[in-house]
């Protein structure tokens, strides 16, 4: 028989557990094909083995230091993991320099494309600050929405940061050791991309197609990318202008050698790098420059 004392004790334990879950974060929250339709806060460790969707009405808030681990499951056998976080509503992921928010593979020996992507599609409101996204097909894909991405790291992915048809502000980020550091199909995008390190990828910037040279990509360090610093895709006949960047060299010929453009394939546009910087920018100084205030 339950006594009043034992009931009180049980109630105390239950309440304590609930409060701990809300304020300190439940360890190892495990999700599959879940849908978020209200305001939800993640902290601690979150495992995703499926597609988690933040619907239009939903707002996902991720606390500093949260680790989101994606199961490296590839059911359709296309060589790309199936797990993803799809955001159609709002996402606020503000880490700190000391406690970044980490999106990564749950594999013991992780590799690029273990999971699909953090995908912003017609999202309502997105702010990403001090996140690390790694071992995905795309560390971050942004389509048909406005997004602000700062102080973050995209590494060990096929595509570090990828966008099309967006209003994107990206500053203070580091994209390294991806197949493509930055990849985009402009399609009318309003993109301001400055004070980023786009270094040590296979391809620094991959302009796939439909670019009308509107994206403002300036005052970045675009150096040391193993195949090309800039590559135009097969269907990019228009020119691409990338002014005021640091290319790792002051010799124009050496800089141009790192572009795959019309000089290799006459059907492509020309990549130009007017007024190159004479030294690297300090990425952490991005807040002193254009677009720092939303």
């Amino acid at each position: 028989m339950l006594t009043l004392t034992s009931i009180r004790l049980l109630f105390f334990v239950a309440t304590t557990f609930v409060l701990a879950s809300c304020t300190l974060g439940a360890p190892s929250l495990k999700l599959k094909d879940d849908v978020i339709e209200n305001t939800v806060t993640w902290s601690g460790e979150v495992w995703i083995d499926g597609i988690v969707t933040v619907k239009k009405s939903g707002h996902l808030i991720i606390e500093p230091g949260t680790r989101i681990l994606f199961a490296p499951r590839d059911v359709d056998g296309d060589g790309i993991g199936d797990a993803e976080l799809l955001v159609e509503g709002s996402l606020t992921a503000r880490g700190t320099a000391r406690d970044p928010i980490i999106f990564t593979s749950a594999a013991d020996q992780p590799k690029p494309a273990d999971w699909k992507y953090l995908y912003l599609d017609f999202a309502r409101d997105v702010e990403l600050d001090y996140i690390v996204s790694e071992y995905a097909y795309s560390g971050l894909q942004v389509h048909f929405c406005r997004a602000r991405v700062t102080n973050s790291i995209f590494r060990y992915n096929v595509d570090g940061l990828r966008f099309s048809t967006v209003n994107l502000f990206a500053a203070g980020n580091r994209m390294h050791d991806n197949q493509h550091g930055l990849r985009y199909e402009e399609r009318g995008s309003e993109a301001i991309i400055h004070h980023n390190d786009i270094q040590d990828n296979e391809i620094g910037i991959f302009v796939v197609t439909r670019s009308t040279d509107r994206a403002q990509i300036k005052e970045n360090n675009i150096t040391g990318n193993r195949q090309y610093n800039v590559k135009l895709g097969w269907q990019q006949p228009g020119d691409v202008t990338l002014p005021n960047n640091w290319w790792g060299s002051l010799a124009p010929d050496a800089v141009e050698e790192t572009f795959l453009d019309r000089k290799i394939d006459v059907s492509l546009g020309h990549v130009s790098a007017p007024e190159p910087l004479t030294g690297p920018v300090k990425v952490s100084d991005w807040q002193k420059h254009e677009g720092a205030t939303p």
Partner: protein, 202 residues
Amino acid sequence: MKSLRYLVLNSLLLVLMMTSLSVSSVSACVGKTLVVGALDDPQQQVLAEMLSVLISERTGTTVKVVPIKGHAEAHDAMIRAELDMYIEYTGVGQVTILKDQPIADSDELYKAVKERYNQELNLIWLKPFGFSDARYAPEGTVAVAAPVVRKDTLKKFPALARLINKLGGAIDDSTMKELEVASAAGNPRDVARKFLKEKRFI
């Protein structure tokens, strides 16, 4: 006492509710991965990797090379849409796959297989690479190598034929032998990439 039990159950239910989220299925846009078949042979592997590297590097499309056991298996996989493309030889196409009479003339043979594959099988022969290999030639015919691609795949990727056709005539007999030797001795993908880079295809 019943009300106390009710309170306990409610408390436990509250815990469960607070630590789980609603579950339902969703779907999202998934990119198409192209699949290239390759027989267990250095020549096939280096050519399949060449298609894979060319397509993935120039278009950004993900391409996967998968092993296949033989020509008939490759053909069946194409018909079942399990492969998007593979490398075939004109003589094999005419005699082994189409079960037709050998044709000795190289150009005539290419036209014949291209026409029947297109009309009857919805498979498209793209431009030949530029070499032939007698090892693959049934008696009384020749074996000119070319990429064969599903028509549906070309509809989904309209620029693909033009891109792959850049390799048309780019590999003569002696170049193919060199690539084959290097492929047998090393990594076919590295060999393919080096060739494409040297010829400025990528």
